[in-house]
């Protein structure tokens, strides 16, 4: 794995990799940064709120985000986000396997009032964090 050198990262794909899978009409997408230093940036940009706002016609149910701090990954669970699911959807990709790239295509510098460079700020107040689900073990 090589990180893109020189240019500042532009989209999530520049700092992270992802894989999507399905169960029924629920999609889950895991997203992992290559460099742990980018994890706070990922968490601040890939939020449950942003996914619902960016893809409202596709993501029709709740979105949960599980954080695996020590592995520097997020697990996004999107309810009612597969147009009916593998046996019902008329999408060519009825599993939503390509949904990983719906995350990886997101801009890192989206024009937003909350815009702030997290690597230089240290004090993060990322949107959507309130919806986070720690895995139960971490919560306990």
């Amino acid at each position: 794995v090589k990180k893109q050198s020189g240019n500042l990262p532009r989209i999530v794909r520049d700092i992270a990799h992802a894989r999507a899978s399905d169960k029924g009409n629920t999609s889950n997408i895991s997203v992992w940064v290559y460099d742990p230093a980018d994890f706070e940036l990922l968490k601040s940009k890939v939020t449950t709120e942003r996914l619902k706002q960016t893809y409202p016609d596709l993501v029709r149910g709740d979105v949960e985000r599980y954080v695996l701090e020590h592995l520097h990954g997020l697990n996004l669970v999107l309810q009612d986000a597969l147009e009916g699911g593998v046996n019902s959807s008329l999408n060519l990709d009825s599993h939503g396997k390509s949904w990983s790239y719906l995350i990886l295509r997101l801009e890192l510098r989206e024009s937003s009032a909350k815009r702030r460079h997290p690597l230089s700020s240290g004090a993060l107040t990322p949107s959507g964090m309130g919806m986070d689900r720690r895995s139960s073990a971490e919560r306990g």
């Binding site: 794995v1 090589k2 893109q4 794909r13 990799h17 992802a18 894989r19 899978s21 399905d22 169960k23 029924g24 009409n25 629920t26 889950n28 895991s30 992992w32 290559y34 893809y55 016609d57 596709l58 949960e64 599980y66 695996l68 020590h70 592995l71 990954g73 697990n75 669970v77 147009e83 046996n87 019902s88 008329l90 999408n91 060519l92 990709d93 390509s98 719906l102 689900r133 895995s135 139960s136 073990a137 971490e138």
Partner: protein, 395 residues
């Protein structure tokens, strides 16, 4: 079942012909779900193949009991949506419960081949670990660790570099000859995931991470028939070239109920396509899309769901992303619908084929298909109402 001698995986015969002899020589048991809807017929066919190969005495176990059609009432609530089975207005074609470590008794009886139909994927790996290490089925930490191993192995090459390459960013050597995974499991359930030397692909913490949460929702609560596995504190370390060590999985008591997949006869899926290339291809494709939508509704009176994509401009992400800036000169119209009516399915194919003479200019490459469509829903069944059984046959 249309044919009681079939209903098993179409690859079974070819695979057994190749594998039975070398696996017997090496003392390697085969555990498989290739029985699909008919494990007994699959076992019988495997015996025939073994006899044909001269493998006298080969022991082939068949695991049944996942068919719970007679035990689930129509008033059973659906798992993922409001309502009950009775609310789904389609004929039921099958109900199968996921089974757990049911391969265990067959391993204890020294079966060479174990054929099931609906063993939960990780359970096919947990059973031999329990058998070999003498784990207790009450030790949820060990079952959780075994489930992690099974979970990482169950999609084959998805952990050895398959489904990973992204040119320029994520490199996988010799993906055309990607190696199948091997798990070297220790008694405590920790494992090294690797692959045969000389094969393509790669194994690293990065490839293992992507598979760790595949089809997982809460990482701390991955439900299988055997255990509620906890992957939330798993550690993944590189321990050599194409070697990644996983440890730290845990678990708690498994769910009281088992998941049942209910299949309904959903009629047919009809798909038809035609392509446009060159200057104005997108505009011509869009015109064709408008025409077929209008004709299905207004001429043929079809009021159901129909999907009309323009591949090359907007297809997989058509619902997610409304506007595209694609500048391609090569697009394909793809029309899809599901219906219980064969007539409307055939109409879709005929309407799209008709674009070759009366649609926008330059359309070509018509293909159409009509395939049976089984729709599924999930329900739960109390564990005590599922009675797995095992029988061993000898070649």
């Amino acid at each position: 079942m249309a044919n009681p001698a079939r209903g098993y995986n179409a690859h079974l015969e070819r695979r057994m012909r190749v594998l039975l002899e070398p696996c017997r020589s090496a003392g390697t048991a085969i555990i498989t779900n290739m029985g699909a809807a008919n494990p007994r017929a699959a076992a019988e066919r495997t015996i025939d193949i073994a006899r044909g190969l001269g493998l006298k005495g080969l022991k082939i176990a068949c695991i049944e009991g996942d068919d719970v059609t007679d035990s689930v009432s129509r008033s059973t609530p659906l798992m993922d949506e409001p309502g009950t089975l009775a609310d789904i207005d389609m004929p039921i074609v099958g109900m199968n419960a996921y089974l757990g470590v049911e391969a265990l008794p067959a391993l204890e009886d020294q079966a060479d081949v174990i054929v099931g139909g609906r063993l939960a994927d990780p359970s096919m790996f947990v059973a031999p670990l329990v058998h070999r290490f003498g784990w207790s089925l009450d030790n949820t930490t060990q079952l959780g660790a075994g489930t992690l191993v099974g979970h990482l192995m169950e999609c084959g090459m998805q952990v050895t570099g398959g489904y990973f390459a992204d040119p320029g960013i994520k490199f996988v050597p010799d993906l055309a000859r990607c190696g199948y995974p091997i798990a070297e499991v220790a008694h405590d359930g920790s494992a090294v995931i690797t692959k045969l030397s000389g094969t393509g692909g790669r194994v690293s913490p990065v490839t293992v991470k992507e598979q760790l949460l595949y089809e997982v929702h809460d990482p701390a609560r991955y439900l299988t028939p055997d255990v509620t596995a906890d992957f939330s504190r798993v550690r993944i370390d590189a321990v050599g070239p194409d070697r990644a060590r996983v440890a730290g999985a845990a678990g708690s008591k498994g769910p009281a109920d088992l998941k049942v997949t209910v299949g309904f006869d959903g009629g047919v899926l009809a798909e038809a396509g035609v392509s446009y290339a060159g200057p104005g291809a997108q505009d011509r494709g869009r015109l064709a899309a408008e025409i077929v939508g209008e004709r299905l509704r207004q001429v043929h009176g079809y009021g159901g769901a129909v999907r009309i994509d323009l591949i090359g401009t907007s297809s997989l992400f058509a619902t997610a992303i409304r506007t595209t800036t694609s500048a391609t000169e090569d697009v394909r119209l793809n029309v899809a619908l599901r219906s219980r009516s064969r007539e409307i399915a055939e109409t879709v194919l005929w309407e799209v084929e008709a674009f070759l003479c009366c649609g926008p200019a330059g359309g070509g490459g018509f293909r159409g298909s009509i395939v049976p469509s089984v729709i599924t829903r999930s329900v739960l069944i109390s564990r005590d109402r599922v009675k797995p059984s095992m029988e061993i046959f000898e070649a």
